[in-house]
Assembly symmetry: C2
Homo-oligomer: 190 residues x 2
DNA sequence: ACGGCGTTGATACGCCCGTATCATCAAAGG
DNA sequence: CCTTTGATGATACGGGCGTATCAACGCCGT
């Protein structure tokens, strides 16, 4: 079987477990069972658990990036910078079941990196990439104020809304409404 | 020794471990060592680990509430609703070492409750209390728009800023500046 | 045809976890 | 004074963890 496909399959198993029973429940044995493979296989593709978790974090980052890319492309070619900005941000809200899984697993993992100095740098690198992307989008959309500041605030808001949706305080629709209302206000001040 | 004081002492040990080495490192033995007591004592005051963690969550909620209360009282008596609102929110940012410890431990714990249906309700109850408080403050301060909506957005922003500070993306001062700038805009629209 | 090597599986090992057990101790009440 | 009860300590136990070991298997080039 293809090497990369196997790794994806196992990483997906970790994500499923983390999103349903929590990351602590994702032991090597549980992951193997969830992926439908033997424990030895998991060890074969990921020599240690740290390596597995690092791969999962990368996997999640790639999934999120892919979602953003797809959302932007779905806009069609003559898309305004503003539309691209909205699409980028709303796609990252845990609205459907898939994005909920991804964001939940990502959050759980990210929280762990907060107290693990070795992986802390890796944890924020994805966030920085998103920050740069959104900063550029703010600049292109010519909103008022400093694009970097706008991006920082909006991404913090996004992060908080993600948490609130995961915690069940808001539905995905409510969070999207709050987010777009925030953006609308920014554009109203142009 | 006093019963409540012992429980506080042990809960504080959990917080210290969670904030430095992560919540997974907070085993019963590690907690006992950090608190300078025997393992048996931890078991005596908290019959099971679940009970200990639940008490820690309550402890953290109380600490945060106390900080908010203190910050408001420090304003002196003739304080405007707006000043109270600013004080409430900025105190919850992980600026000093103590609040960083509290917020970090709280976040780690909160993340766990996301995939633990039994404790999920308990996890959001504190958040709801804060939401109600801030909603009332927005209403008193007579900002434009629906107070509940303003509170929801602002708290999501606060939550996201907390995360970004913990992750090292922003300093406490930067986060405070972003937060107050957000509030200033709301008040500018009055 | 076959030998070698990348791949898979079953099982073992040592460690640390949460929890339980048993003994000791201090102080208060009859 | 003695006993009883709550508090503390030392140690044991079963289980699940990450990891390592060793055997069996399949495929592919020569």
């Amino acid at each position: 079987m293809d090497h990369e496909e196997r790794r994806h399959q196992i990483a997906e198993a970790v994500v499923r477990i983390a999103a349903t029973r929590g990351l602590p429940a994702a032991s090597m044995r549980e992951v193997a069972a969830e992926a439908g493979v033997s424990l030895r296989l998991v060890q074969y593709y990921f020599h240690t658990k740290q390596e597995l978790l690092a791969a999962v974090l990368t996997h999640l980052g790639a999934q999120l990036s892919a979602r953003v890319r797809r959302a932007i492309q779905a806009l069609g070619e003559p898309a305004t910078p503003r539309a691209r900005l909205y699409a980028t941000l709303t796609t990252l809200l845990p609205a459907d079941e898939e994005s909920r899984r991804i964001v939940l697993a990502y959050t759980a993992h990210f929280t762990l990196t907060l107290t693990d100095p070795d992986q802390a740098a890796k944890g924020v690198s994805h966030a920085n990439g998103l920050r740069d992307l959104v900063t550029g989008q703010f600049a292109q959309a010519r909103v008022s104020g400093d694009p970097a500041t706008r991006a920082a605030v909006t991404l913090a808001l996004l992060s908080g809304l993600q948490m609130s949706v995961l915690a069940g305080q808001h539905t995905g629709e409510q969070a999207e409404a709050l987010l777009t209302a925030h953006l609308d206000e920014l554009f109203r001040q142009r």
